[in-house]
């Protein structure tokens, strides 16, 4: 084992001591649900308020924003909206952080072409200098301390491994294999296509849900900001329909963030396998989530599910 592998593996093990798979008593996770009806200039102020609510201490720290870039369809709701990413960039900078943007799409190889088509070059000044294609970044092999998938290690990009805070900026979407793709599934994008290919099929063979949990175990307390302003329902994550939900969901416990998103989408989180695996009953239980901002009742909206996923439906609160 290389020294770096050892250090990262050790850090992840330490991180796991406090992660959601541990049955020890826990304090409620703080999750904010903020109403945001449109991609407008208001988002910039909203994002500043979200970071203030969560009291993030990032002065002098390296923050990596990881959006979800999937397809060349700027008019659809496939990708995390560039205005939300720009708002986060500015808000983290105002807190004194050094901020980069990074992503490694799972199917399409032209990441910068994809970002261009999605409006990132237009909306984020100097985007190309801020951006790292995680598919083509330098990599190191990282041992998984307690794998639940068939993987025992993964090559991961240095940009993410060397960051002080990873911010998963997912899109609120249904997913035809996993039920929902949110902040945890978004971490598939940190697995380098330059090593594993397009798609990152090694994660599928190791078990999709289990691989999500293993990636989460390496970054158990990354910050999550889910773009639910306009999400996607139906046959997501690519061929679904835009679904305006008008919310941004954030927090430093990705399991609790994703469970909250599921409730907003009227999906029962305990029936989403990777959430049940990562959080257990306690981790996704609403009593263990301290929700601020909008109430669930006021923002939940029915995301249509394809026939194969209808068993995930949650009764309206």
């Amino acid at each position: 084992m290389r020294r770096r592998e050892f250090l990262i593996g050790g850090a992840a093990t330490l991180g796991l001591a406090g992660c959601s798979r541990t049955p020890a008593p826990r304090s409620p996770s703080l999750i904010s649900v903020v109403r945001a009806p449109a991609y407008s200039q208001d988002i910039y102020g909203t994002m500043r308020r979200i970071l203030a609510q969560h009291k993030l201490r990032v002065r002098g720290r390296r923050v990596v924003l990881k959006p979800n870039l999937v397809e060349f369809e700027p008019e659809s709701a496939i990708n995390t909206h560039p205005m939300l990413v720009h708002a986060a960039l500015e808000a983290f900078r105002e807190l004194g952080a050094s901020v980069a943007i990074a992503e490694g799409p799972g199917h399409r190889r032209g990441t910068l072409d994809l970002a261009d088509a999605a409006g990132y070059f237009e909306i984020i000044p100097g985007f190309e200098d801020l951006f790292t294609d995680l598919n083509l970044d330098e990599v190191s092999r990282v041992r998984l301390p307690r794998p639940v998938s068939r993987l025992n290690s993964l090559y991961l990009p240095h940009t993410v491994l060397s960051s002080d805070l990873l911010v998963s900026m997912a899109k609120m979407k249904t997913h035809h294999w996993t039920g929902a793709t949110l902040s945890m599934k978004n971490l598939f994008g940190i697995v380098p296509g330059g090593v594993y290919g397009w798609p990152k099929n090694v994660l599928h063979w190791a078990g999709i849900h289990q691989s999500i949990v293993d990636l989460h175990s390496l970054f158990p307390r990354h910050f999550a900001i889910v773009d639910g302003i306009v999400g996607m329902d139906g046959n997501g994550p690519i061929q679904g329909k835009p679904k305006p939900a008008g919310v941004i969901v954030s927090g430093d416990d990705p399991v609790a963030v994703d469970a909250t998103c599921c409730r907003i989408m009227q999906i029962e989180p305990s029936r989403v396998e990777y959430l049940a695996l990562a959080g257990g009953f306690e981790g996704i239980a609403q009593k263990n989530i301290q929700q601020i901002g909008e109430t669930l009742d006021s923002v939940e909206t029915r995301f249509e599910l394809i026939r194969e996923l209808r068993g995930l439906r949650r009764a309206k609160a």
Partner: protein, 309 residues
């Protein structure tokens, strides 16, 4: 039966020097980012196998040697693994799909013995779904035989399923070997891999990464993989590919990426299907691979296809 090649249409044959000489800046862009160790990065940073091979192929296409050709080939040679394959970069321990790229280089460039071992690695590797162990497991667990043994593509990473891009590159590499020295082993594997490609064609006539349907829903094709598949299928009956040509021509006029445009041009050229009045390359090349592909496609349009000649 001889394994046919695709050929460019006579009306597309121009003086090979026109674009490559006047657009010498393209090759200069590639040369300008070569690393001191002889390899190339995708954009900047450490050397990777894929951009290194594409940089060398671009120079071959332009019929000129890379200025530090010897160092580049030495970097590649030193990266070969004990199993005969290549890893994507030095910090990775597993031989992968990039072995097909190295096998596209002339044997005299990488060394005949190294090249033979690369080809043997390709012949020995296949997608997990066509491996005997997996097929046996599927029969035992699910009581059904997975796709037939006559479909055999290549995976991106060992121990996973076959996909379109690595299969296309494997076919192109083995075809070059076959044309140099025909053998039944090579021919059989090329045929199986081409059958795999045809089995993965999407309902719209093109190809995506290699999954035409998910949960019963048709998935859409991509420009890059559609171009790659047409190039890898060069020489097969064009009557079977009319829908593919129409889709590729539509993609070609949309021009969303330099890499996509180059692969489409290469694929359509193999069947003399480049639409009249097709635009020249006008998309930004974001990586060494995109730039090299642009050079390679330009040379192919002018009569020298480094993948097929």
């Amino acid at each position: 039966m001889a394994l046919p090649r695709g050929t460019p249409a006579p009306h597309l044959l121009r003086n090979i020097m026109t674009i490559l000489e006047t657009d010498d800046g393209t090759l200069a862009n590639i040369r300008g980012v070569q690393n001191p160790d002889g390899g190339w990065p995708y954009r900047k940073g450490g050397s990777w196998t894929e951009p290194t091979v594409f940089a060398l192929l671009a120079h071959l296409a332009a019929r000129t040697a890379a200025p530090r050709n010897t160092e580049a080939l030495a970097w590649l040679g030193a990266a070969q693994q004990s199993d005969g394959g290549w890893t994507p970069r030095r910090s990775v321990d597993h031989s992968t799909w990039v072995t097909a790229l190295v096998a596209l280089l002339p044997p005299e460039a990488v060394g005949p013995a190294r090249h033979t071992r690369a080809v043997n690695w390709l012949l020995a590797n296949t997608g997990m779904e066509s491996s005997p162990i997996y097929r046996w497991r599927e029969i035992v667990l699910n009581g059904k035989l997975p796709q037939g043994p006559d479909l055999s593509g290549w995976p991106w990473f060992p121990g996973t399923a076959a996909w379109v891009t690595p299969t296309c590159l494997g076919i192109l590499a083995l075809k070059k070997c076959y044309w140099r020295q025909p053998s039944s082993d090579l021919r059989e594997r090329i045929d199986k891999a081409q059958s795999f490609l045809l089995s993965r064609r999407c309902a719209d006539g093109g190809w995506n990464h290699g999954s035409q349907r998910a949960l019963g829903y048709n998935l859409d094709s991509y420009p890059e993989t559609t171009g790659q598949a047409l190039l890898a299928l060069a020489g097969t009956d064009p009557a079977r590919l009319q829908d593919s040509f129409r889709l590729a021509q539509r993609f070609f006029l949309e021009h969303r990426s330099a890499g996509g445009a180059a692969w489409l041009r290469l694929g359509l050229l193999a069947y003399q299907q480049v639409p009249a009045g097709a635009p020249l390359f006008n998309m930004p090349c974001r990586t060494v691979v995109d730039t090299a592909l642009t050079v390679i496609a330009t040379a192919a349009e002018q009569g020298y296809n480094v993948f097929l000649d």
